[in-house]
Every structure is written in structure tokens, then in C-alpha cells.
């Protein structure tokens, strides 16, 4: 086991009790709320529901997984939560906002400040170094006053925070490398560091362990677990059975319908 995982394990143990208390208290006001959420696409001239009447609530500190074969609406679901795809009916509430009703600036702000996305594909910007990729989200908007974590928004402060994140993820050496020089597992970890940069309340992870070797999978899953234990709501889409060991609740997506697995 590497130094990193050991550290994260320690953090996780320490945070366990506090988090459980927190998640119990915030049960009443879920961070993410999907109500009767439907998205209809046309396929060969016929309408079909990629996501069909889905109801789901995720509270802070909760780690939720959605499984299911590809093509069953999982990515449409998370795209709707992130406000990238509009629902045909129903609504998504994130942190009290109806995502579909927000203006471009407000939804962008929500994505930037509240949501952290770990995407499956390579979404690091090829022309920025690893450290600049991680800092980027923090530089798009002026930080809101209530965001106490990110009070230090000077260039040095951001640099320091990004370096700390890379350090925690065991890729501090790669700070000045470019994405094309990284392996898949390293890119995934950079993507996680980037998602965590703005202290998101909700972390959305799309196949975070896809095409990773077993060792990298463990590192990534422990990181996500640690984030959840630190109070972040985590929504993960996966079809990796190994990843399910780390989650609080698992749902199954089948032809657009979401069902809980005990």
C-alpha cells in the first residue's frame, strides 16, 4: 500500500463518526433531489425514454452508486443533474436550485462551485499543465464570500491548494507535466483533484474506475470514499463490481428506470 492510501485511510477513520452524525441530521433536506425525472429521445422515429420517471435523493456525505449496462440512461441521468441536458419532464434540484430553470451564468456557477465532475473520458485541457488544469476551476469565477474553504484565492493560495491535492493523490511529481504525458490512471487522479479544487458539495463520478488496473481502482475508490466521509455527496455511475464495495447505497438503471438494490 502506498503512502497516499495510508493517509487517506487515516483521514477516513477519523472522519467516520462526525460524518455519520452529519448525514443523519441533514437527512431532511437532500442535496440532490430528482423528482419524476424523464428525458425522451427519438430513436428511429419513435420516442423512447432514456430516463424514465426517476426519483432519487442524495444527502451530504452519502455515497450513491448507479449501475447498469451502457445505453440504459446512466449518462443522460448525470448530464441532467449537471444541467448539461434538459429534462423532458420532472425536475432536478441541486442545493435548492431547480437546475433546468437556472440561467447560463447561474448553472455555470452551480457547476463550478457546487458540483465536481469526474468524467470517464479524457477531459483535461491538453494545453495546460497538470497543476494549471487543477487550478482552472478556481479561476473561472470570483469566489463567493460564504465559501470559507477557498478564502485564499490569490495565485499562490490556489497553487498551494492544487499542489496539496496532487500530493494527497500521489501525483505531486506530475504537476508540471502535460496530460498527454500521463497514463490513464494518472489522468483520472488529476481529474479527481480538479473536481475537488472548489470544495464541491456534490461529486459526480462517471465510471471513475473504468479501464484502470486494480491498484489504481483501489486508490481512486478510497479517495471518493474519503470525500464522502468528509461530507460530500457522491454520485457514482459504474459497472465495476469492485467499486460497489465502497458505497452506501446502490441503484440499478434498467431501460431508463431506477431501482434500489438492497
Amino acid at each position: 500500500m502506498t503512502d497516499t492510501t495510508a493517509t487517506i485511510e487515516a483521514v477516513r477513520q477519523a472522519d467516520m463518526r462526525a460524518t455519520q452524525a452529519q448525514s443523519a441530521s441533514s437527512q431532511s433536506a437532500p442535496l440532490v433531489e430528482l423528482h419524476d425525472l424523464t428525458r425522451t429521445f427519438m430513436r428511429r422515429g419513435k420516442p423512447f425514454d432514456a430516463v424514465s420517471h426517476v426519483n432519487l435523493a442524495i444527502v451530504s456525505g452519502q455515497f450513491v452508486a448507479v449501475t447498469g449496462r451502457s445505453g440504459n440512461g446512466k449518462s443522460t441521468l448525470i448530464n441532467m443533474i449537471a444541467g448539461l441536458v434538459r429534462p423532458s419532464s420532472g425536475y432536478v434540484r441541486v442545493d435548492g436550485h431547480n437546475v433546468a430553470e437556472l440561467s447560463d451564468r447561474d448553472i455555470s456557477l452551480l457547476r463550478n462551485q457546487t458540483i465536481g465532475c469526474i468524467t470517464q473520458s479524457q477531459t483535461l485541457l491538453a494545453n495546460l499543465t497538470v497543476i494549471d488544469n487543477v487550478i482552472l476551476p478556481a479561476t473561472l469565477f470570483d469566489h463567493c464570500a460564504q465559501d470559507t474553504h477557498a478564502a485564499d484565492t490569490t495565485a499562490d493560495g490556489l497553487q498551494h491548494r492544487a499542489q496539496t491535492l496532487l500530493d494527497q493523490l500521489g501525483i505531486a511529481d506530475l504537476a508540471d507535466s502535460y496530460p498527454k504525458e500521463l497514463s490513464g490512471g494518472e489522468m483520472r487522479r488529476v481529474s479527481i483533484a480538479r473536481a475537488l479544487m472548489n470544495h464541491p458539495k456534490l461529486l459526480i463520478a462517471d465510471e471513475p474506475t473504468g479501464d484502470l488496473d486494480a491498484e489504481s481502482t483501489v486508490i481512486v475508490m478510497q479517495l471518493l470514499r474519503a470525500a464522502a466521509d468528509a461530507g460530500t455527496a457522491v454520485l457514482m455511475v459504474t459497472h465495476d463490481p469492485d467499486a460497489l464495495e465502497y458505497v452506501d447505497r446502490t441503484y440499478r438503471m434498467d431501460r431508463g428506470m431506477l431501482t434500489a438494490i438492497a
Binding site: T2, G170, I171, D173, L174, D176, S177, E181, E186, E215
Partner: protein
Amino acid sequence: MARDCQQKLRVSTMNALRKREEVMKNKLFASIPNIVFGALLVIAPQTFAHACGAHDGMMPACHYSQQAATGIGAVILVLGLVALIVDPKVRIGLNIAAIANTVLLFAIPTVLIGICKGAMMHCRAVMLPTLIVLGVLVVVFAVLSIVFDTRSSKRA
């Protein structure tokens, strides 16, 4: 632990490769333009951009300007060749010298020696403009090269 070592090795190799690429680029930038334009400055006044012929058995001023321009061209050519084998800080000096030489190149046909006075004469219509164009190119590339070399030696 083995994985960490591997990663470090890879990172340092990548950095070394990137650096070598930049070093090569700067070196070529500092030398090739001076070699090419220096050579052209040697050749042009002796061929197509020649001076006017002798008038009444007397060599006109432009003849001497032409010879001087060839000499300056040779010096710039040598500066370019030397830039291939020295380190960046020296290259900065070489390019400053190239700029100073170009100032001399401009001064010779205009102030120091002069050329024929007739506006339609060959040395005024062809030689002078050719020298000016080549000189401007030498200065432009020398300034760029100085900027590149200063930037990378500051970083180092």
C-alpha cells in the same frame, strides 16, 4: 514504491526531452537567420544587387559601399556560425553584435560612404533596398532570438 520511482523517472525524462527541444529551437533561431542573411549580404552586392560601374574611370561611392556591405555580411555570417557552438548567454551577445553590425550596414550607404545620387541608378534602385530588406530581417530575427534566449536562461 517501485511505481513512484518509475513515475519520477518518466517525469524527469519528459522534462529533459521538452527542455532539449527548446534548447535546440533557440539555438537554431540564434544562428540560422544570421547564417542565411549574412551569406545573402555577402553574395547580393556582388551579383544582382551590384553597384554602378565606373564613371569616367572613377569608382563611384556605391562601389565602396558595396564592398563594405559584403564585409559586414561576412561578419554576420560568422556570428551565426559561432552561435551554433556556444551557450545561450553568449548567443545573446552575438545577436546584439549582429544588430550593431546591421546599424553599420544601414549607415554605410546612407551616411558613411554613400551611393550614387541618381534616383534611377542601379545602386539606388536595387542595391540599397536589398541591403535594407536583408538588414531589417537580420534585426527582426536577432531581437526574437534575444527574447527567446533571455527567457529560457532566466527560467534556468
